[in-house]
Symmetry: C2
Subunit: 204 residues, 2 copies
Amino acid sequence: MVDKPAPDATRRSERSRRAIYDAALALVAEIGYPRTTVEGIAARAGVGKQTIYRWWPSKADVLLEAFLDLAEEAAREAGHQPYEIPDTGDLAADLKAVLRATVDELLDPRFDAPSRALAAEGLVNEELGRRFVAHLLEPQLQLYVRRLRAAQERGAVRPEVDPRIALELFVSPLAQRWLQHTGPITHAYTDTLVDYALYGIAPR
Amino acid sequence: MVDKPAPDATRRSERSRRAIYDAALALVAEIGYPRTTVEGIAARAGVGKQTIYRWWPSKADVLLEAFLDLAEEAAREAGHQPYEIPDTGDLAADLKAVLRATVDELLDPRFDAPSRALAAEGLVNEELGRRFVAHLLEPQLQLYVRRLRAAQERGAVRPEVDPRIALELFVSPLAQRWLQHTGPITHAYTDTLVDYALYGIAPR
């Protein structure tokens, strides 16, 4: 690692890095996690495998960063900050906005196929599953925890509610429909989840 | 097929059928769905592969019935009817009871490993995924739809609520925690999900 690389070298690195991410995501989508190798990623990205090993210790690490990069890009394209849930003071509206953007991302084929392949591997490979949950999924869920806590402080969420469980009422149904094809994924659907979670299904 | 088989033949068939189910579930847990074959199931069950093909057209069909059988057995062991959600008139109590039994089943290793292997395959093999959802998961979810409709008729659930979406507020969080190891699975947890789903997280 050079502290201040020449501009050309930086550009070359950035290009290689992106080519490696793209290759890793494409490969895992096409042939699955177990058959994806650092060698295969290097060949597809047009770099030597030492280039990959210089930056990442394993294929799991390459994929982890490739997904983080993909999520940031999707957030930027959707016109919002990647690691933030808006706080306009209207909890229902803010949750609906973020979940609508998530629906769009889940339906994006660039995201769908590699994420599905990785999630499938995580189901049977507990170590990998826990690692990706800890680095990719849980940080996203913690954004909801923070937003729900802010609402709780203002009295918009009951004080005894555990935000880490409450968020699952709207996040998990969307995740299950996406993962297991148990139902259509639309903005109307996630809006409904937010309303049911906030106000309950029993009469008020 | 013989209309009235001799008692001995019936007993033999029943024994073979059970050995085939056990072999199919064990194999899919150990080596995954793609590498599980009808030949492998037959060898492990100690039957000829023609015995399997006489009853089921494919490995997917064997596994489908093996899982149905497993679910029925788990329900019987838990002391309740396999295809029924109790209706005591107390919706919260009935949902909590069924979800507690589901927690116990999900934590049972006989169920966990094969179900996880099959769910993983369903994530990347859409045809298989849709088939297992249609035959194994959706019929279970429809039991909740019926129970919620009965509650709706008595005014315990708001009339405008869609029961097929409402059930996901407590079923999907449990499914995601189980599938993706995103959090512990306990009776207290599913009790909490039911309370949040019924009464909402916003103040009443």
